[in-house]
Symmetry: D2
């Protein structure tokens, strides 16, 4: 084993594989699983062995190929034994969640059960995670579509081809065939993606959440990322709360939209109300945004803003009628950036655009983040958690909030791609716009230098 | 002027009332207002004078009766002059909000305007506050019904009698007559209620939000208050978030419901899911609540709990079918304490009982807090703000959260009746149940002593 | 009474001054006090009346001159009666603290008592506040020197003139004559200063502490203030913690020192250690400040930095020997800005400059803030509280921290001149430097425009 | 490899050990290290391999014995190569910190350098960690005494025997022989201690810091631990801040001292002042602790308390003179529990017992925590960090604070024995006393049952 050089795997040979003798009951069932990935680095192998023993089973390591370089992956083959089928099933379910793979030859079809009541899954349904998942159908691995957490997997046939897809409980219909048990399921942890990334843009940011580090550096990295995504025609979704407006970030977010850095905007009633209040009356929650002082009678402004938009019909109507002429949502309309406003129990009004039917709101949200490369979560815990629930692994998340607890909650999803920034969101956006401008002028300077 | 003794009011006589000379434009309009209340104590009079001058008007103090004792109220009569009708209107609107009263003889009917589009108020509609409000109709003061903030006032006639009521913008119908302008409006600041209360139960608690004070004392006071309300057949509404369950407060809140201290429960999907998860599987978000350890595979428990209730049909059905046999919501069903679960964008599932239509949810919430004497807000910012928006002045609010910022936000509504407690909600409930038990045993001891 | 016009005071004449009848015990003592200031606005008068009644006394309002404009001050003459000398003393002590003045003719000399043990005050010594204070000596009001809170007042004679000065308990010497009781003491609330300020620079900032407002505006105001103080040859003291370095604020603070915006720097061991660590090794607590990544073995850097300075002899020595060539403390040495490092129980090393004798440290701190116009407190609760204790009213305080609780604690001293900013201190300093640069270029532009 | 059964180690045999070819420069130096411990579980091996490669070296795994059970330890022998001696040294220093061991036969004596200036270490001195450390002297491993972090190791000879001990920089004397380089150093990670502990008392608590878990369970575990330590004649040190008094925890902490659960108390001036203020006047920072209300004039109480103790001479004197008759410090004096009060820049007074000379304070602190089994840190970040710096690995730490950031900071020392509790400290102590009482009655019940 050495650093660098051709990839010759080291093999751990089991000198004395012995049947477990310490269980009174005989192992009535055994199965062989494969573990692949950064087994040592991530502690994955030990977690798997723990799961087996704590779950009531025993194990033998049949084979262990140690990756030759620290970036390369290792692989282990482990024989799991259990005293009963039930115990085995439970252990397997957990092993799959940590990324273990049962050997494919064992199962040709994952067990399926029929839905017998709309919106209710079979008892033993497999609960999905954020990780890419595959199920065995007709002796082949089929990738699950619409991956998201806390769903069920429905298997159907389209044009003779097997299709597997995530479905929310409430969307299940009588007759749907739902995956139960764990015989033929595997989740894929994208180690590749991580390696590729290497020490690049998002590399250092995994350093955890702290209010005691240099935000300027993090912002610089995020600016690079945004620029790269825009240049490649990628997709950035922004989730934002009203604090963006209160802290003076409205102009900066408007700028980002105008400059093409935002492809979808998600929020609630409040951010739209205060953005429009600022556009129409110059205040946010009754505070004058130019002078920073409370305006007499200003607490009524947000309701006047709502009433004005209601009279127009919608935010788009207000823009088209020339009533709304600036602000975040004005820019969205002008630059055809789609937005979705999810209602909440605390909403006044609401604006005509606010979806008070949350099933519709969740559907709209899910649609807007489809295919996003990066999601920027700006001081809105509620909507950000909502978005997080729908987002599969692999999408970069940037969470900005002045409360460290919120940032921790949002960015802690066991996913390497999430970055937490504890800071004032107004200053964050101000700085982000500055950094993007610098990138642009540098870019232009280089471009014209090359042209000469 | 003296402390104690018969109430002989001191009169401030204006030695030289002069017309304002410092405005270039002549005062085209003037109106006389009355201020009553703890004018000195609350700084009310100065705030009113500020409003007038900053709004572009001028004033003369015509009469000033200083309350003789510090508890008694003072009264001032002030003549307001303004250079235009518009300026006068704006000043008056603000004076009304701080509790000033225009002299009734001036206006016989408050101006009204017709709604010409459903859900849209006339431009200049009066935005309601949490304070009891009265409007002039047929030369009489009519109390506004369903008082809440951020509504409009609709005046109608029922059985020949004038009726005024708060309506949300979205509930306005074409033809509704809505109060505009501020000619004949007054808000009542219940100084009486405050005096009555004096230095009693809620007296000390207004001392502001701090994590550095003795929670045990605050809890003792709240226990007294809960006990008194129960004894008098009053109403307590509880707003609670899932942290109640995570921190081990579930049993304690169940106890309060069983003992009759709770008349309504408001929350979201999460508290019900985790309460039921704990009842069915012994975990909350997959944490074993007895041992405090994370259970392998426990992150799936909440979804299994949701699926189980969905199969039953509803929470009530789950109780009646013997599936759900303990917990907060079990107790609610058993003791016919009504509850309402408002959906949010982050909800998984949801439970069949969770209202994903927020207009319905807001209506249900408003119905449940009607007539409440005290509202206990337990670690749920979102739902608590929702409830706060609907709650008129005069209802006692107790807000418990471990985050001082949340407590400040919730308890800062310019209302003397709100108390903030910065602490762990699990320990808070544990202590509250203990204190209530002590009150009860003391009560029994006294009762049997008297019986002898 | 009118807004504007010549200042004709309105007089409240007491129609029926009656002796209090509601006290069983006769009033054995009475004294007349004067209240001046924004009596109505500040609720001062009611607070005073409350104090009297709650303290067990009674009162008569003899005279009440209401200020004619909202900016002008009112004056009240109140006769206080008490059933015993002790009660009267206690009431008076409290009245003095809120700013009441006993009529000077009553007392010609404030009672004094001798110190009979070093470092111990007489039992009944008057505890000083942050407000300017005067005591009666030889029938005259003598202003107390070295005003600070929690001290005693020592009266002595210098060149035949009476001198009164604040002394800490520990500095009292046998034979010192210490003010006891409250007969002839008055505190001055600088209403003037406040009026002058009016709606100027620091006007809006009193709006309380919140993480939900526009920091950019606050910073702009602070920049103006700093610029004005520098132009007028004033004094700014900065209190700073190590978070300034961790968040990348070191360069910005260095810039402020270089540009002459800082006249004294106060901190602890940690900020100096990490500033020097960054200057010598490019890391702060082992984090690379250019790349934002943790450096292998970097946790040892701070100790190496300490050892290096210890070898040189002191920070100044390290600069003069060419070892330390950049950073905050380098700039202090180069621009002869004095600094003081107060030790704490948590300090490693420490640096040779760190005062581990806290009596010496407190003396040095007190010396450095003498005459400061503004104190900028940057993310260092401990040292900022220390400074706050020594700072008399009238000095502007700006407190910056990302934790709202810290900001509230620091800026809540009942003083209008204190401003709290909840934000990331690194971004705050970055923005402050930007704003100051803009002011400068604007200034230059204007200057050259005028020159033409 | 199997779970359970006799310990037959699996051996990973290196099939193709090859010299690294990817470094242009030849490896001029190579050394073989041993890694032992939960290599897989803790990711230790990968961290070590990372260190080598990132540091510029390369490696070969010579031998890898995989622990047979998940509790048992693994061992790896790794050959490290580096292009220069300097690179090798740097890599080795880091490997030692993660617990790697260079093979003993290589080095017979660790290099030493003489101190040539008091208080200054040689340039390349080895900086100590909290982990038990051994150095090679005369071809033997010698355990370092007074282990603490951020010190230097001084080797001397006592009675012919080699002695190695930690010394702070400031305590170094000319002529001291200080360990430099890393040739013969190893740190011991007490895996044994951890295994032993298994799933016992402190097992679950490592679950991280959160305000959303059940504090009651944590308190129960801590109560068990305290009880066990007392029964075994162990030592508990308490570090406490004034918030303990403000939140009503004073009585509870007094109870713990009386009952023998506390063997040393560490704090600052403030906790003693407020404890004594409460004992003498019933207030804490002027708040009445019985009624929870602010007492008029109460802000002076703490200074009166200080003055009173100064007159007596010391806290002990105040107790012996009958002046101080209750409270935490009264109990300490009565039950001869030693205490130490470290001064800080913010201290008023101070009390005669407060050490304003911090070198003396640090020495006293270090002395008091010597041999402690558990340290309870109660709402005092400053003093707790101070204590943490002096505490070697292996001592259990319990950190209680209502601010999650403080708890994280204190309990995050890479040590399995530290537990963070986010809650109100007053309620925490109240509950702890209750739990201890329950343990006692249960114990008595069992004891009398056995006696029968």
């Amino acid at each position: 084993m050495k650093a660098g050089g051709a990839a010759k795997c080291l093999t751990l040979r089991v000198t004395e594989p012995v049947e477990p003798e310490h269980h009174a009951v005989a192992a009535v069932e055994s199965r062989t699983i494969t573990l692949e990935g950064h087994l040592l680095d991530s502690g994955l192998i030990n977690r798997a062995l723990d799961l087996i023993v704590e779950g009531g089973g025993s194990f033998q390591v049949l084979n262990f190929n140690l990756g030759e370089q620290r970036q390369s992956t290792s692989a282990a083959e482990i024989k799991v034994s259990a005293p009963s089928h039930d115990v085995m099933e439970k252990i397997m379910a957990q092993l799959i969640d940590v990324g273990a793979v049962t050997l494919p030859q064992e199962v040709c079809d994952n067990p399926l059960e029929l839905v017998i009541k709309d919106g209710v899954a079979p008892d033993d349904f497999y609960v999905t995670t954020i990780y890419p998942t595959e199920v065995r159908v007709n002796c082949e691995w089929v990738r699950v579509q619409n991956q998201r957490m806390d769903g069920a997997i429905v298997v159907s046939t389209t044009a003779g081809e097997p299709v597997a897809a995530c479905k929310l409980l409430r969307d299940l219909k009588v007759g749907d065939r739902v995956v139960v048990g764990v015989e033929g399921i595997r989740t894929v942890r994208k180690a590749e993606a991580r390696d590729q990334r290497g020490t690049q843009e998002f590399g250092f940011m995994g350093a955890g959440v702290s209010s005691e580090r240099r935000v300027e550096l993090v912002v610089e990295q995020i600016a690079w990322e945004l620029r790269k995504i825009r240049d490649q025609g990628g997709k950035v979704a922004v989730v934002a709360g009203p604090v963006v407006i209160h802290t003076g970030g409205g102009d900066h977010l408007s700028h980002l939209i105008r400059e093409g850095y935002v492809q979808a905007l998600l929020g609630g009633n409040a951010i739209a109300v205060h953005d429009i209040e600022q556009a129409l009356m110059g205040t946010s929650l009754g505070m004058d945004m130019k002078r920073g002082v409370s305006v007499r009678g200003g607490h009524r402004h947000h309701l006047k803003a709502i009433n004005t938009v209601r009279r127009c019909g919608s935010i788009r109507d207000a823009v088209e009628q020339g009533v709304l002429t600036s602000g975040i949502f004005y820019e969205c309309v002008r630059h055809t950036v789609p937005f979705s406003l999810a209602g909440s129990i605390r909403d006044d009004g609401p604006l005509p655009d606010t979806r008070m039917d949350l099933l519709a709101a969740q559907a709209e949200y899910a649609h807007l983040i489809e295919g996003a490369d990066l999601i920027l979560m700006l001081s809105s815990m509620l909507h950000s958690i909502g978005v997080g629930n729908m987002t599969p692994a692999g999408v970069k998340l940037v969470c900005v909030d002045i409360n460290p607890a919120v940032v921790t909650k949002l960015s802690d999803r066991g996913s390497v791609e999430s970055v937490g920034v504890v800071t004032d969101v107004g200053l964050f956006l101000s700085l982000l716009v500055q950094q993007l401008s610098r990138l642009t002028s540098r870019y232009h300077a280089e471009a014209s230098a090359m042209a000469r």
